[in-house]
C-alpha cells in the first residue's frame, strides 16, 4: 500500500528528473569547454515501458547519451537556449511529481488517521 506502483512510479520520475537536472547543470557548466558534447538523459522510455506492462518500475537514473548536434568551431555543442528550456521544463515537472507524491501521502495519512 505505502510502496505501491503510484509512489514507486513517482519516485522513479523524481530520480530521473533529478538526473536530468544534474546533466543539464553539467552541460551549462561546460558551455565554454572545448570538445564537450552535451549530455541527454532518458528515463521516460524505461518508466513508461514498465508501467504499460503493469510492472512496478525500477528506480533508476536513466541513461545519458551524448548529443549528436553539430558542434561549433571549438568542438562544443552545448546550446544555452535549449539547455535553459530543458532546465525550466525539468524543474516544473519535478514540482509536478512532488505535488503528486504529496497528494498520495496525504491520502495515505487520511487512511491512517484514527476516527
Amino acid at each position: 500500500m505505502i510502496g505501491d506502483v503510484t509512489s514507486t512510479a513517482l519516485h522513479a520520475a523524481l530520480t530521473g528528473l533529478a538526473e536530468r537536472s544534474r546533466v543539464t547543470a553539467d552541460n551549462i557548466a561546460n558551455v565554454n569547454t572545448p570538445g564537450f558534447l552535451a549530455g541527454r538523459t532518458d528515463f521516460e522510455s524505461a518508466l513508461s515501458g514498465a508501467l504499460s506492462n503493469g510492472e512496478k518500475p525500477s528506480i533508476s537514473r536513466g541513461t545519458v547519451a551524448r548529443s549528436l548536434e553539430p558542434t561549433n568551431t571549438n568542438g562544443n555543442n552545448v546550446n544555452l537556449d535549449s539547455e535553459t528550456v530543458i532546465a525550466t521544463e525539468t524543474g516544473l515537472r519535478y514540482q509536478l511529481a512532488l505535488n503528486a507524491l504529496d497528494g498520495k501521502y496525504s491520502v495515505l495519512r487520511t487512511a491512517l488517521r484514527t476516527s
Binding site: 533529478a18 547543470a25 557548466a29
Partner: protein, 134 residues
C-alpha cells in the same frame, strides 16, 4: 550520487568562469605594461577548461591549467620612457583589446548561466524538502 549534485556542478562552472574573468581582467590591466626591449613583454594568460570525468556519472568542469601567450610584444618608440633602450624603444605586450572584451563577455554570460542554474536547483530542492509536510 551526492544529494545536491547540481549545486556542486554549477559551482564548478562558476569557479572556472570566474577564473577566466580573472585572467581577462589581468590581461587588460597589463595591456600598457612597458618592459625593456631585452626582456619578455607581459604574457597574455589563457584558462584551459576541461570537463570533469567526461561521460561518467560525475559532472562539472575544472580549470586544467593556464597557458601563456607570446612574450615577444611590440616595440614602441618612446625615447623619454625610463625603460627605453639606446634606440629609444620600449616593449609593450601585444594583447588585442577587442579579443579580451569578447572573452570578458563570454565569461560573464557563462557565469550568469551557471548562477541561474544554482537558483533553479535551489527552488527544486526546497520544494523536495517540503515533501510530506502538508
Amino acid at each position: 550520487m551526492a544529494v545536491f549534485d547540481t549545486l556542486g556542478i554549477s559551482g564548478s562552472g562558476l569557479l572556472v568562469h570566474r577564473k577566466w574573468l580573472d585572467a581577462v581582467s589581468d590581461n587588460i590591466s597589463n595591456i600598457n605594461t612597458a618592459t625593456r626591449t631585452n626582456e619578455d613583454a607581459f604574457k597574455e594568460r589563457f584558462i584551459v577548461a576541461r570537463a570533469v570525468d567526461y561521460g561518467s556519472g560525475e559532472g562539472g568542469v575544472r580549470a586544467a591549467r593556464a597557458e601563456f601567450g607570446s612574450g615577444q610584444g611590440r616595440l614602441v618608440y618612446d625615447p623619454t620612457h625610463p625603460l627605453a633602450d639606446k634606440d629609444g624603444m620600449v616593449k609593450y605586450p601585444d594583447i588585442d583589446l577587442g579579443g579580451q572584451m569578447t572573452q570578458l563577455l563570454m565569461a560573464q554570460r557563462g557565469y550568469q548561466a551557471n548562477l541561474a542554474v544554482v537558483e533553479r536547483a535551489t527552488t527544486a530542492y526546497q520544494a523536495a524538502l517540503q515533501l510530506g509536510r502538508r
